[in-house]
């Protein structure tokens, strides 16, 4: 492009003035604010609320754990990587006992064998709540496309990290949890 340095001076001034005016104008016209952050299964958004029953038949609400860090995992007994990461969750549960950490393992019961899931939980002595998604509504709300899927939710109920696929290494799980626990409530 044939551009002399004298012509360019005017292009330079025009572009900088226009850009500054655009920034100021759009800041004044359209403040982003919340930007329509209704609950969605992605980082930066409030985690969609749900109520599910655990293996003992008691109802568990996600909102019961407001103020705590929640590790929300979706799994099935037919999924080998899901089962492979469960011992790491159990180790985490033991290591962070007394801390504000809650592990919720949602079994996608609508497409799993409940007795196989129950047997797996018993065999591995899993001490954290295992919830049953009987009709698939919660899995749908979290747009579960692949298993396992894990959501790291902060104390304010905001999803901070989504990990799709697995098994996750203990290091990954621990660093993510440590980061969220370190945030002041």
């Amino acid at each position: 492009m044939p551009l002399s340095s004298r012509n360019f001076k005017w292009v330079q001034i025009a572009m900088l003035v226009f850009a500054a005016a655009w920034i100021a104008g759009t800041a004044w016209l359209a403040t982003p604010g919340e930007g329509g952050r209704s609950p969605s299964p992605r980082a930066g958004f409030p985690a969609p609320a749900f109520t599910l029953t655990n293996l003992e038949g008691d109802p568990i609400n996600l909102s019961d754990y407001q103020g705590k860090v929640v590790l929300l995992n979706f799994w099935a007994a037919w999924c080998p990587p899901c089962k492979a990461e469960m011992p790491a969750f159990e180790a985490l549960q033991q290591a962070y006992q007394g801390d504000d950490l809650v592990i919720l393992a949602v079994n996608t019961t609508y497409q799993d064998d409940l007795s196989a899931a129950q047997a797996f939980v018993d065999e591995n002595n899993l001490s954290f709540p295992v919830l049953l998604d009987m009709d698939g509504k919660v899995s749908n709300a979290y747009q579960i496309l692949a298993m396992p899927s894990t959501f790291f939710i902060d104390r304010d109920g905001i999803i901070q990290q989504v990990i799709i696929g697995g098994p996750m290494s203990e290091t990954l799980i621990q660093t993510q949890v440590r980061k969220l626990l370190a945030e002041v409530p």
Binding site: M1, L3, S4, S5, F8, K9, Q12, M15, L16, A19, A20, W22, I23, T26, A27, W28, A30, T31, P32, G35, G36, R37, S38, P39, S40, R42, G44, F45, L145, A146, Q161, I163, I164, G165, M168, S169, E170, T171, L172, Q174, T175, Q176, R178
Partner: protein, 253 residues
């Protein structure tokens, strides 16, 4: 939106795949164009980019591990885990740029012609960043009911990912090397930076995930304006320079 490609037991992260393809395609093109342009050694371009990339990934992992030394010391194998959640973007950028600078110094590469030669790769990469955002649903727009709105995260929104892809494509066309074009070294790269910053200022206005400073100013726009001013000042000074000579064609059989 297609964040995951499920092929049998494999869950492939589509955004990452798009970026990798963009990087490979961009670098291959840059190498070919450098052969035609004959201002810098095409191999040096490829090696420089590869050095920066490898160092960047290593740095990103090491910076992340440095935040949790006790956890990584217990399980050092995690240092080579392919999981992208265990990367530190800032650390990656710093080590990548440093490695490129060191490589350039040692090989005595001329700064501006090298940046010019890398510009086609960067332009392609910028387009694929837009497409990757579209696949993941990141960098999403503010809610709006327009004929071209897309439904994303529970709302009809500005398709900001498509805006950035289209603008990136426009930038690529504008800065694409032309045969016989004589211009001072660095002009192509600096034009790319200036236009990229300008595009970011425009697109950011429609994004819903902006970080605000001083009340309602979007910080990304303020940084982009600074980059625009700086790159345009450099363009002004480069315009006073003579075009770089081509490396004479190798006549040996």
């Amino acid at each position: 939106m297609l964040p995951i490609l499920q092929i049998g037991p494999l869950a492939i992260q589509t955004p990452g795949l798009i970026l990798l393809l963009g990087l490979w395609f961009g670098l291959t093109l840059a190498e070919k164009l450098a052969q035609i342009d004959r201002r810098v050694d095409p191999n040096a371009i490829y090696n420089l980019a590869l050095t920066a990339l490898v160092a960047g990934v290593l740095g990103a992992r090491l910076f992340y591990a440095a935040r949790y030394p006790d956890i990584f010391l217990k399980d050092p194998v995690s240092l080579i885990s392919p999981n992208t959640a265990m990367l530190d973007a800032f650390g990656g950028l710093v080590t990548g740029v440093l490695a490129a600078l060191i490589y350039g110094q040692r090989r005595k590469l001329p700064l501006w012609p090298v940046l010019d030669a890398l510009t086609p790769a960067l332009s392609v990469l910028l387009i694929t960043v837009g497409l990757a955002h579209f696949a993941s649903g990141d960098a999403f727009g503010i809610p709006a009911r327009l004929p071209w709105s897309i439904r994303l995260w529970g709302e009809y929104r500005h398709p900001t990912q498509l805006y950035e892809t289209l603008l990136a494509a426009g930038i690529a066309v504008l800065v694409w090397p032309r045969r016989h074009a004589e211009q001072p070294a660095g002009l192509r790269f600096l034009t790319f930076v200036a236009l990229g910053a300008f595009a970011r200022i425009v697109v950011e206005s429609f994004r819903a995930d902006s970080t605000l400073i001083f009340g309602s100013l979007r910080s990304a726009q303020v940084i982009a304006w600074g980059l625009l001013a700086f790159s345009m000042q450099l363009i002004a000074s480069r315009l006073k320079q003579q075009p770089t000579a081509q490396i004479p064609e190798d006549k040996s059989p």
